[in-house]
């Protein structure tokens, strides 16, 4: 704004619309470009400061021996923390747990979400009510949902799940129903169940949006030509849904890799359920080993970048079609 050349700013509107000297035009373009950037800058500067700077600091700390309890030993140690990340069996276990947890939850939620979206895409009485009921799990605060599953549903003594087993066995006249101790015998499954319950509605919503954007005339034409339901699904619906499946899978992966609340509440990382976010939290808070926690954080970020690259590509291909470029 302030460096605009006098030549450009002194022009009257009439002159501007008529002939412009090449140099004046360039200066005007630059000025216009700068003017357009102004509304963007506050958000951009704030985002860079709040998201990029802490991460840069994490990278620096990851090369340091930095423990809150031993301030005298502070100093740079090269790759020591990274060596520890890759050799410590507990941390390797956390990597495996993270992959297992994320893959299970994402795949099961996607399959269930697709099936339910196909059901809800049909016309039936009370469709809106069923849709609302389906969304409800996603709208329970995650910590509350984890507490509900831990104490209300999976508790071996009075939980809903074992209660329903007692009911069903009671109907058949048995008074010795199976009463598994879900939380201690199947700790990872317990976390997975609560996450699948919360994330299936998310997948269902994305896929339902996909189904409803499917051009109807193609399906009608195929039906006219004598295509069966399975053929329509296999050759028309599924290819159309593929990108929505990718989008759901990638966004789900990014959110669930970061899952902290449910692990923290349901098992507190015990019995082999500590995933990377929980492990980093524990290294940072309980061991107060800041250098090691930062190295773990950097490793998580590298893993996320690998998923995110694919995610960005998918979003970007959807986006290109939308803007018609």
């Amino acid at each position: 704004m302030t460096t605009a050349t006098p030549a450009a700013s002194e022009l009257t509107p009439e002159q501007r619309t008529t002939y412009q000297a090449p140099q004046g035009q360039a200066a005007r373009d630059r000025r216009e470009a700068r003017r357009r950037r102004i509304p963007l800058l506050p958000a951009l500067v704030f985002t860079i400061a709040a998201t990029q700077l802490p991460f840069l600091a994490t990278i620096v700390i990851s090369f340091m021996d930095y423990r809150a309890l031993r301030p005298d030993q502070r100093g740079f140690t090269g790759f020591d923390n990274y060596v520890q990340v890759f050799t410590n069996p507990a941390i390797r276990g956390a990597v495996v747990t993270t992959i297992l947890l994320t893959a299970t939850v994402v795949i099961v939620s996607l399959v269930l979400g697709t099936a339910i979206a196909l059901l809800l895409d049909r016309r039936f009485i009370g469709r809106g009510a069923v849709r609302t009921m389906m969304i409800a799990p996603f709208l329970v605060v995650p910590v509350a949902a984890a507490l509900l599953w831990k104490h209300g549903i999976l508790n071996s003594g009075y939980g809903l799940l074992n209660g329903v087993l007692t009911w069903i066995w009671g109907i058949f006249g048995s008074d010795s129903p199976p009463q598994p101790a879900w939380l201690t015998d199947y700790p990872l499954l317990s976390i997975e169940l609560s996450l699948i319950w919360q994330w299936t509605p998310f997948m269902m919503l994305i896929l339902l949006a996909g189904l409803q954007s499917k051009p109807g005339d193609v399906v009608e034409a195929a039906r006219m030509d004598g295509a069966g339901s399975w053929q329509i699904f296999r050759y028309i619906t599924f290819p159309h849904l593929r990108r929505y499946l990718e989008l759901g899978g990638l966004l789900g992966s990014i959110y669930i890799v970061q899952a902290f609340d449910s692990v923290f509440i349901i098992t507190a990382g015990a019995l082999g359920t500590a995933n990377l976010p929980y492990t980093i939290y524990a290294t940072f808070f309980q061991q107060q080993n800041y250098g090691l926690a930062s190295a773990q954080g950097v490793v998580v970020v590298i893993g996320t970048i690998i998923i995110a690259t694919f995610a960005l590509r998918t979003v970007s291909s959807l986006f290109d079609e939308e803007t018609g470029r």
């Binding site: 958000a43 951009l44 985002t47 600091a57 389906m134 709208l139 980093i280 808070f285 018609g324």
Partner: protein, 295 residues
């Protein structure tokens, strides 16, 4: 914005106006069994929520039976013991953090979205994808520097610091959502208004506002939900003064004898704002969660 004129392209486009006009009517009902199956699945997924609400109105002894006593008499004891546990400071903190951060997000995101849609800057798609990429950075990776920074300048356990972090957490989502709304503002109409000598205020009110206001409402609800739900940052950076509702809920993580009704009451009260906001913004929910990629 939209440059595609070919109707075939428009019909297959992801959320182009063409696709929406051609939106197919739902598949015909077919066999009533499908409707029954859909109801069964819906009830199965809603069952834990219904169980939570029902149990919150039971006495502690009725809540801890196997099988569950569905028909037990209703009581407010669970809510009474929850409210006896001093939940108001965290509830007010959560409300402050969510509302103030949402307002800040809007103040920053609306002009930014304007500069990415109506009067786009050069390379606006690159900027847009930069915002999206920050959302992929796990919060846990930046947690330690944030803690050390807060500790060194004395803003640990400070709600203002949490507000700023929630603002940065939600800003990319808001920019994406607002951009996709503002992209639908009829630019030709704006130019025509400009030629007719309409001032900026008049133009904003008559052309931009009708499209932008529903977008602002949807974006606010999504940002509110995310801030209200957040645990990791709040748990790390607050302790007694500024702790939020999710942090308060973590005190129920370990069993304390017969307390299921109280846990359910707590979960209901703290989830209520999100359930209300989510049902209100049902149609926009998927758009916010997919960072604006699906409408």
């Amino acid at each position: 914005m939209s440059t595609h004129t070919n109707p075939a392209v428009a019909a297959t486009s992801f959320k182009g106006s063409g696709a929406r006009k051609k939106r197919r009517t739902p598949e015909d009902g077919g066999h009533p069994a499908w409707g029954i199956a859909a109801w069964a699945v819906g009830l199965l997924f809603a069952a834990p929520v219904l169980f939570m609400v029902l149990t919150s109105f039971h006495s502690e002894t009725d809540a801890a039976t196997n099988p569950p006593s569905v028909l037990a008499p209703l009581t407010l004891d669970g809510y009474r013991s929850f409210f006896a546990g001093q939940p108001w400071p965290p509830l007010i903190n959560s409300l402050t953090a969510s509302v103030v951060s949402t307002l800040l997000v809007l103040v920053l995101a609306v002009p930014a979205a304007y500069a990415l849609s109506i009067k786009p800057v050069q390379k606006w798609t690159d900027v847009l994808f930069f915002f999206l990429s920050t959302k992929f950075l796990p919060i846990v990776a930046g947690l330690l520097p944030l803690y050390l920074f807060a500790n060194s300048i004395g803003v640990l356990d400070n709600i203002t610091f949490l507000v700023l972090l929630y603002t940065s957490m939600n800003l990319p989502i808001a920019v994406w959502m607002m951009r996709s709304f503002l992209a639908e503002v009829p630019v030709e109409m704006m130019e025509a208004a400009q030629l007719d000598g309409a001032g900026l205020i008049t133009m904003l009110r008559s052309v931009v506002a009708p499209v932008a206001l529903p977008g602002i409402a949807a974006t606010s609800l999504i940002c509110f939900i995310f801030s209200w739900n957040e645990l990791l940052l709040a748990r790390t950076l607050t302790s007694t003064v500024a702790s939020t509702s999710p942090v308060f809920l973590t005190s129920f993580a370990t069993s304390q004898g017969l307390f299921l009704a109280q846990v359910c009451a707590a979960a209901v009260v703290i989830s209520l704002p999100v359930l209300a906001a989510g049902f209100a913004a049902q149609d926009k929910l998927v758009q916010g969660l997919s960072l604006g990629a699906v409408k």
